[in-house]
């Protein structure tokens, strides 16, 4: 069974008298260990799809199975538990808590599943070491560079061993050199068997994935093998 399976997902918003359909019947399947890029121009619905896949939002219509569980009918708290266990987010704006140290930021997901303090710190240290930030653990976000902040966010995404790493424009706020570093980190994580989904509008970033889903006007326009996969088959 696929890790992610959606059938006919719709998401509609009421804007005054008008109903806007951000997603119009999206059906996709993503398997374990895949590296998928969701591409599309702004307003195409890719962020909405990412929010649904990430269980941050619920669809207006349609089913979403994650790891065989129907999550589209879950309530707020059940979704929170799914986010905590199954999904690691990496955001464009990093979304770190500004007053907390890197270590504490990485510990956050563990706090909400009741991991004991000692084990929590230990796991957060290991995650930060994986992203080569072992010597920056007690720095606050404003004492770190953009690339380092994004690596803290990646460590936070990894710390709970989630089923999916979900990255929303992960390099949108970074310069090209740092972007390369971050993308090779994702490549490395993929090679270790993690399932990665990135949402982007940049072809360069999408090229790191082995599968590219293009989305336009709330529908899947194409589902192709990525540049990496194409290069491998040729």
């Amino acid at each position: 069974m696929a890790l992610i399976e959606t059938t006919d997902l719709w998401k509609s918003y009421q804007m005054g008298a008008e109903t806007i359909h951000a997603l119009r019947g999206v059906s996709i399947q993503i398997g374990k260990g895949e590296y998928v890029a969701i591409m599309g121009p702004s307003g195409s619905g890719k962020s909405t799809l990412m929010n649904l896949i990430g269980c941050l939002d619920t669809p207006s219509k349609g089913d979403y199975f994650l790891n065989g569980k129907l999550v589209s009918g879950m309530n707020d708290d059940e979704l929170a538990a799914i986010r905590n266990r199954e999904i690691g987010f990496v955001f464009q704006t990093f979304n770190l808590l500004p007053r907390a140290t890197a270590l504490h930021n990485v510990e956050l997901p563990l706090i909400y599943n009741g991991t004991p303090a000692k084990e929590r710190t230990e796991k957060a240290r290991i995650a930060l070491t994986k992203v080569q930030l072992e010597d920056r653990m007690l720095h606050k976000p404003n004492e770190l560079s953009g690339g380092q902040r994004q690596r803290v966010a990646i460590a936070r995404a990894l710390v709970n061993n989630p089923s999916i790493i979900l990255a929303d424009e992960p390099t949108g706020n970074l310069d090209s050199k740092t972007s390369e570093d971050i993308m090779s980190l994702f490549d490395h994580l993929y090679s270790q068997g993690n399932t990665i989904i990135t949402v982007t509008h940049e072809r360069d970033i999408a090229n790191h994935a082995h599968r590219v889903l293009s989305i336009l006007d709330g529908q899947i326009a194409s589902d192709q093998a990525g540049a990496r996969k194409a290069a491998l088959t040729h």
Binding site: L56, D57, A80, N84, L97, L108, Y112, R156
Partner: protein, 405 residues
């Protein structure tokens, strides 16, 4: 486990916003302080009254023409009553077998002199020697007069602390001679300093033997009676016997109510309590307004805090925080502020009450009831005014919260 972590998060947030937390704290401190001042002061007052009344033992009752009047009309009615006389006392002493001691007291005003010091209109009470057994008068020095001295009409006086202060500044009064309306008396004892409600005579007062009193001032037209029953259990029956004797002596028709009052310390306390209860509700009600204002400050600042930290809430939710986690985090913040403010308010309120009470010579002690009340109030304010902002935070939708600028 999670609760502890959430509590720590709340503390960190409070520490990060010191000025804001301080201002919130101030609102709560002012509110709790004002309530605690009033509660402590009232409690102190009530304790003092209780202590003053404790000189009437549990088996003692008073008989008076007018014991207590709760309204002007009642007073005007009672003032027409016939006085209680020494004859009444003699009848009770003879007829009431459950009465252990019957003591009488007659009052008059006189001029008291010691050397060149002279005071006018000092209350002079003629009392039987029993009086000191029936009503517990506290000795500071010397002794009371004896039954023998009463029988022999000895000119001896037992003076109150106020009178000692007025006449014998820096002099040992024992054995000194004073004159009461020109007649010489020897001071044999001094009463212990009374509570604020005990010695309400500005110039003080003096006790002399009843027989000596009669010799100098004549047979008193009216007296007060204090009766001690043989036991606490017999108190009610002793009071009934006394009533029957007095009704017969005063020719009260059987269908008419008593034309005299019988009072016990408990009854007096009941009346005073009823009065202070009204006072307490009124004063606490007024001072609670500042507490409500303090609560609104808490709510206001928590609302601002929640709005300002919308993004933080979004981040926490995206990482798996449930509604109750966010709710508790913000509730812990408001509770911590109000409880810390409450503790400070309790201390300040108590000190304020103590300072106030010292001015009228009254001491107050911190009571467990007042402290728990203060803590309960401040915790209640934190919960009541903190729950709405916390619920608002807990119910935020993660997507909207994350995209909040």
């Amino acid at each position: 486990m999670i609760t502890g972590s959430l509590f720590k998060i709340a503390l960190d947030a409070l520490r990060a916003n010191k000025l804001r937390s301080g201002l919130t704290l101030l609102g709560v401190i002012i509110g709790v302080t004002s309530v605690m001042t009033i509660v402590s002061a009232l409690q102190g007052m009530q304790d003092a009254i209780k202590e003053d009344l404790s000189q009437f033992g549990p088996s003692t009752f008073l008989v008076a023409r007018i014991g207590m009047a709760m309204s002007e009309q009642e007073f005007l009615d009672k003032i027409k009553r016939k006085p209680i006389t020494l004859k009444s006392a003699a009848l009770i002493e003879k007829g009431c077998d459950l009465c252990y001691k019957v003591s009488t007291r007659a009052n008059t005003d006189a001029r008291v002199k010691y050397k060149d010091k002279s005071l006018r209109n000092v209350m002079i009470s003629g009392v039987t020697a029993d009086a000191f057994e029936v009503v517990e008068v506290q000795l500071a020095q010397g002794r009371f007069h004896t039954a023998d001295e009463d029988r022999m009409r000895r000119p001896v006086a037992f003076i109150s602390d106020k009178l000692r202060e007025n006449l014998f500044e820096g002099v040992d009064p024992l054995g000194k001679e004073i004159t009461i309306d020109g007649r010489k008396y020897t001071v044999i004892g001094v009463e212990k300093k009374a509570g604020p409600f005990g010695d309400n005579q500005e110039r003080g007062y003096a006790y002399i033997p009843m027989s000596t009193y009669i010799t100098q001032f004549g047979e008193p037209s009216r007296i007060m009676l204090a009766v001690k029953a043989v036991s606490v259990e017999a108190l009610q029956d002793a009071m009934d016997q006394t009533r029957m004797i007095l009704r017969a002596q005063r020719h009260v028709p059987f269908d008419k109510p008593d034309d005299f009052d019988i009072l016990t310390a408990d009854r007096i306390l009941d009346v005073i309590n009823a009065f202070t209860r009204i006072l307490r509700f009124a004063l606490i009600g007024i001072s609670s307004i500042s507490l409500v204002v303090g609560g609104i400050v808490v709510m206001n600042i928590m609302m601002v805090s929640v709005t300002e930290r919308t993004r933080e809430i979004g981040i926490r939710k995206s990482l798996g925080a449930r509604q109750k986690h966010i709710l508790l985090q913000f509730l812990f913040e408001s509770l911590t502020v109000t409880l810390v403010g409450g503790i400070l308010g309790i201390v300040l309120g108590f000190l304020a009450a103590k300072t106030l009470m010292l001015k009228i010579d009254m001491n107050i002690a911190p009571s467990l009831a007042a402290i728990s009340l203060g803590l309960a109030i401040s915790g209640g304010v934190g919960l009541f005014f903190g729950i709405y902002p916390a619920m608002k935070a807990a119910r935020m939708e993660p997507v909207k919260a994350l995209s909040y600028e």
